[in-house]
Amino acid sequence: MDLILEGIKKAFWLLVTLDPEVMGITLLSLQVSGAATLISLLIGISIGVMVALSRFTGKKIVVSLINTGMGLPPVVVGLFVTIFLWRNGPFGILGLLYTPTAMIIAQTVIATPIVMGITLAAIQQLPKKLQLQILSLGATRLQMVWILIKEAKLPLLAAVMAGFGGVISEVGASIMVGGNIKGYSRVLTTATVMETSRGNFDIAIALGIILLLLAYFINLILTQIQQRERPR
């Protein structure tokens, strides 16, 4: 019991004094996951909208692939990114393994299907004739796509939050491709695993609290979105 209380006391101390190592880890987490979410946003929304609006044979297969991708196990992603970046592997020459860049790559692969899938659903939920109405107002195809994205802005925001939430709390792929190198590729999740295994509960709890706060923050935004969305 002492262990826990001591740990919590020290954790608050680390947080309140803005301990540089803890802050550094937090900052890196936000940078890596932020970058991954941004890239997955660009790829995910554009492809999601394209698939939602087009008609082609095999569309059903593509849609179910995207939906399957949403549940991709992060360790599997970690495995494949590792293989690709391995010294003798296809992209080994870039020397990206065990760098933050590798983590961004892995997290992008994890987040993109999530953003894509939710975008697809959001656009498909818009009234079918809305596309025609927008075109009949004289919009170019590009203008139409932009207006549709604006119409679906709330669920799209939810998609981005879901993507970010998924990768900020991800540990498997991040350890495998990042290597958890101190001051370089150590993020909240990977650091927590390490500190816990060493018995440094104060640091581990501090990191855990930050992760919890981030999770709460994301959830808060998602709930606000849900409450604001009323059926028309």
Binding site: K129, L132, Q133, L135, S136, L137, I147, E151, R232
Partner: protein
């Protein structure tokens, strides 16, 4: 309503739309004159929406050519330019998730108009449709009627050369619909916009249109002024769709000059027309043209057709009543509530039904 007699503003040739291997629309020729209001009427699935979407190039692929003000619309660029001169309003308002003002402005923003000009035009339309007080309201909070007014204002804001309406009043409740139709009528008289609108409600078509096209199964069966179409339907389908209640099949048994006698279920009906002896004909009699009388004396009247009949059923229809008679052949008459009372017409009573020879339309069927 005066019409511009020069070149048609819109001409569609050989318009054909196929879906899943079947031709769902086939309109060989359609000309729209500038400033006219054309109503497309027909049952659900008749092809009205398909035709509207084909005319506005919202639907592809389709065969056929469209000429706007005499020039052919073909390349991608001219299609886009053409589409920018049109506006379409659907049955659902399909508003954007923003304020009423921004919604009405959306067509103008798409065209990159200056903010000050947008403001002027939007306020003008909001005024016109009586929704200025809703300018800053979110589109989500509007009633059905308010939303549809916003959708119409949005279309009018771009000052389209041709306005297409796809059953715009179908989702509204009767009082809302009536009020909106009345306002739209006045607005169209002011703006003289060319309008093509689809509806399954013939009274709407009758009220607003200069010309009516009756459609079914992807084809236009008849097109003409409402009076023409309503009083001289060319076949049974058109007849029943425009409200002809009595449709009878008979054979020509005698010819006079200008009229003929048709034998229908043992009775003889005199009809204006030029037919061949022995021919089978289908006759249409509008219920408004049938007069009922309880007088037992032979009157001097110009109505050539007089039959005794029994009232089978009286159905109230609001301002008047529908009386179904058996005169040897089934006959339907519309009678005002006032007359019904005065004549004490009740079910089972025998009355005299009369109609003129000119009130019977012939849809010629075939040789005997």
């Amino acid at each position: 309503m005066s019409l511009n007699e020069s070149k048609p503003i819109l001409e569609a040739r050989n318009t054909e739309v196929e879906r899943g291997g079947t031709t769902i629309l086939h309109v060989p020729s359609l000309l729209i004159r500038k400033g006219e209001i054309l109503a497309l009427i027909g049952p659900n699935g008749a092809g009205k929406t398909t035709l509207l979407q084909a005319l506005s190039y919202l639907l592809k692929p389709f065969q056929g050519e469209i000429f706007f003000k005499g020039e052919k619309v073909n390349s991608n660029h001219s299609i886009f330019e053409y589409r920018r001169k049109l506006a379409m309003v659907f049955q659902e308002p399909l508003l954007f998730d923003t304020t009423v003002f921004e919604n009405v402005a959306s067509g103008l923003k798409i065209r990159g108009m200056r903010r000050t000009e947008i403001r002027r035009r939007v306020m003008e339309q909001l005024d016109r449709f009586g929704i200025s007080h809703l300018s800053n309201r979110s589109a989500r909070t509007l009633s059905g009627g308010e939303a549809q007014r916003t959708s119409l204002a949005r279309a009018f804001a771009i000052e389209p050369e041709v306005l297409l309406l796809d059953e715009p009043f179908a989702s509204l409740d009767p009082p809302t619909r009536d009020s909106l139709i009345e306002d739209l009528e006045h607005i169209l008289q002011q703006t003289r916009t060319t309008v093509i609108f689809a509806t399954h409600d013939r009274s709407e078509a009758l009220r607003l249109s200069d010309r009516m096209a009756v459609m079914n199964e992807g084809k236009i069966f008849q097109i003409g002024s409402p009076e023409e179409v309503m009083n001289h339907p060319i076949d049974e389908f058109v007849a029943s769709f425009v409200g002809v209640e009595t449709i009878l099949s008979g054979r020509v048994i005698k010819k006079y000059s200008g009229t003929f006698l048709a034998s229908v279920l043992g009775q003889e009906i005199e009809v204006v027309g030029d037919v061949h002896l022995g021919e089978t004909v289908v006759l249409c009699i509008r219920p408004e043209n049938v007069t009922l009388s309880t007088s037992i004396f032979k009157e001097a009247t110009s109505a050539r057709n007089m039959f005794m009949g029994k009232i089978l059923k009286i159905i109230p229809l609001g301002l008047y009543q529908k009386v179904q008679l058996d005169c040897g052949f089934p006959l339907v008459a519309y009678v005002t509530n006032h007359s019904l009372e005065e004549l004490s017409l009740t079910e089972g009573r025998e009355v005299k039904a009369s109609f003129k020879a000119t009130a019977v339309t012939v849809v010629r069927r075939g040789e005997s």
